[in-house]
């Protein structure tokens, strides 16, 4: 499958150039600092609370990581002129988008995997339930996948990486801030906005170790819709 081929090349590109590692290292360092200062800090807590705090801060950094990982996906190829190679080859639009997204997701998964030392630290000094950790990580992966898909869409729209990062950041912030809109609107609109919000209603259950179908479905739908939109953009841009 062509999407797989594109994903493999893209991932190799991430692993061979500095930019990927720099993004990974910087965000990982910040994530660790926040974990140390806020999730661990203060009065003595129960392990489950610390773990919940870890997922709370990590969710924010996962969104940021997804943003920086996704910005180069299509915009960089456009900048370098290599997009013409994909466009002039017998490859379907959706394979281009899917390939790019999968490569980004694999790299994001690497980031998420790198955060595992923090729950391990908790395990060493306390008690951690495997279910709680798995639920939290599933949440991070789903949240990351949705953010990455939005970022892929932004990258498809933009001429260069900087524009891609800005466009995607605006979209992600708008999605996250939906819950603020929910507070000032009336029923039934407020419930719609509340349910639309990228974080507010859907992530906290994962954070405390609960997996709800509607939260999983929400992140998958966001991923699908954003990738679908990105495919449409590629389809339209391919001829320009």
């Amino acid at each position: 499958m062509k999407a797989w081929l594109i994903a493999r090349r893209e991932l190799a590109g991430y692993l061979r150039t500095w930019s990927g590692y720099i993004i990974l290292a910087v965000i990982l360092a910040l994530n660790g600092l926040f974990f140390n200062a806020y999730a661990l800090g203060g009065a003595s807590k129960r392990s489950a609370e610390v773990l919940s705090g870890f997922f709370y801060y990590s969710s924010g950094f996962t969104v940021v990581a997804a943003l920086f990982i996704s910005m180069r996906l299509l915009a960089e190829e456009r900048q370098m002129g290599t997009l013409l190679l994909l466009y002039s080859s017998p490859v379907k639009d959706r394979d281009i988008v899917l390939g790019k997204f999968l490569a980004g997701l694999a790299f994001l998964a690497l980031y998420i995997l790198c955060t595992a030392y923090m729950p391990l630290l908790i395990l060493v000094n306390g008690k951690v339930s495997l279910g709680h950790v798995s639920a939290g990580y599933l949440g991070l992966l789903l949240l990351g996948s949705a953010s990455l898909a939005v970022g892929t869409f932004g990258s498809a729209l933009s001429r260069n990486q900087l524009m891609a990062a800005i466009t995607s950041a605006v979209m992600l912030v708008a999605l996250i801030l939906c819950w603020l809109v929910a507070r000032i609107t009336e029923q039934p609109l407020s419930e719609v906005f509340s349910a639309l919000s990228l974080w507010n209603q859907h992530f906290p259950p994962f954070q405390s170790g609960l997996i709800h179908t509607r939260d999983v479905a929400y992140y998958l739908v966001v991923t699908y819709v954003a990738l679908f939109a990105a495919t449409r953009v590629v389809e339209a841009r391919r001829w320009r």
Binding site: L5, I6, G13, G81, L84, L85, L86, S88, W239
Partner: protein, 309 residues
């Protein structure tokens, strides 16, 4: 192989190409000639399925470019004006990737890559990172990626741009070597590169096709049968008298010990001209085919257009 009818592309108000029409047969090597901004790249992008024409019809190998681009892309290799290379890959990896992207089976890939490297003289840099290659090599990798899947049609947009004279000679040899296996479209704004590699020329100026044909046909149409350049030592009047036997003569430069003349006559007459001059007791220093037979055709065509515009 290619039929183009009424091809027009507008960028906003500005027409990059207007009402182009031409046909190209199987196995032909065609040169697209025009000044920068004449519409060469635009035309090749439409043929390469990366640009939607405003109007007109392009059929490649029986498939409409707009209606059925996927089929066309399978039969075509395209080198854009900037080679689409990934710097962090090696030449071999890159070519394998492109081959599979264009539908070569995994098993056949390494053989195809080797073949493409052979044709473009890239064997020695197979394992090198693309970022370390010189401009000439990068350009050849660009050609290699276009032909690695053995497409029926090869579209090369300015493959010789920015190359030094030695590299241009190599590139010309590479393109000549493609004859027979592929139909090739090469664009350039530099004439000698094209005249020596192509069967037929299409001359584009300000978005319209101003002439097409072989170099000789174009020369005949322009009413010029070529020219001969002569440099000699001796009596100028006598030299002019001798040369006038063959055609019109212009004195280009004259100094105490040297006269440079231009004779309007077919370059085929060179041996007889030389004999006549030597026979008349003149010291012949240089005798050459007039520079840029094609150049004068080209300038004539594009100049005339500008005067009319």
């Amino acid at each position: 192989m290619i039929q183009v009818e009424g091809l027009t592309k507008y960028y906003g108000e500005h027409a990059a190409i207007r009402d182009l029409a031409f046909t190209i047969g199987q196995g032909e090597v065609i040169g697209f000639l025009g000044l920068n901004g004449a519409g060469k790249s635009t035309t090749l992008k439409v043929l390469g399925c990366v640009l939607l024409p405003t109007s007109g019809r392009v059929v490649i190998d029986g498939h409409d470019v707009v209606g059925n681009p996927h089929e066309v892309r399978q039969r075509m290799g395209y080198l854009p004006d900037v080679p689409p290379l990934y710097d962090e890959m090696t030449v071999g990896e890159y070519l394998s990737y492109v081959a599979q992207l264009r539908g070569v089976a995994a098993k056949a890939t390494s053989a195809r890559v080797a073949e493409a490297e052979e044709k473009t003289d890239l064997r020695d840099v197979h394992g090198e990172l693309i970022s370390t290659l010189s401009h000439g090599f990068r350009q050849r990798v660009g050609v290699a990626q276009a032909l690695v899947h053995k497409p029926a049609l090869l579209i090369l947009d300015e493959p010789t741009s920015g190359l030094d004279p030695r590299q241009i000679v190599e590139m010309r040899r590479v393109i000549r070597g493609l004859r027979g296996e592929h139909t090739v479209l090469v664009s350039s704004h530099i004439l000698p590169e094209i005249s020596q590699t192509c069967d037929r020329l299409l001359i584009i100026h300000q978005g319209t096709l101003v002439a097409q044909g072989t170099e000789d046909e174009l020369a005949r149409r322009m009413g010029g049968g070529g020219s001969i350049e002569v440099e000699l030592r001796g009596d100028r009047a006598r030299a002019v008298a001798v040369l006038q036997e063959f055609g019109a003569v212009e004195v280009e430069r004259a100094s105490e010990d040297m006269v440079a003349l231009k004779l309007r006559a077919s370059p085929d007459l060179r041996p007889r001209v030389a004999q006549a001059l030597v026979g008349a007791g003149l010291e012949l220093l240089r005798l050459d085919q007039g520079a840029g037979q094609l150049e004068s055709i080209f300038l004539g065509l594009t100049h005339g257009q500008e005067a009319r515009a």
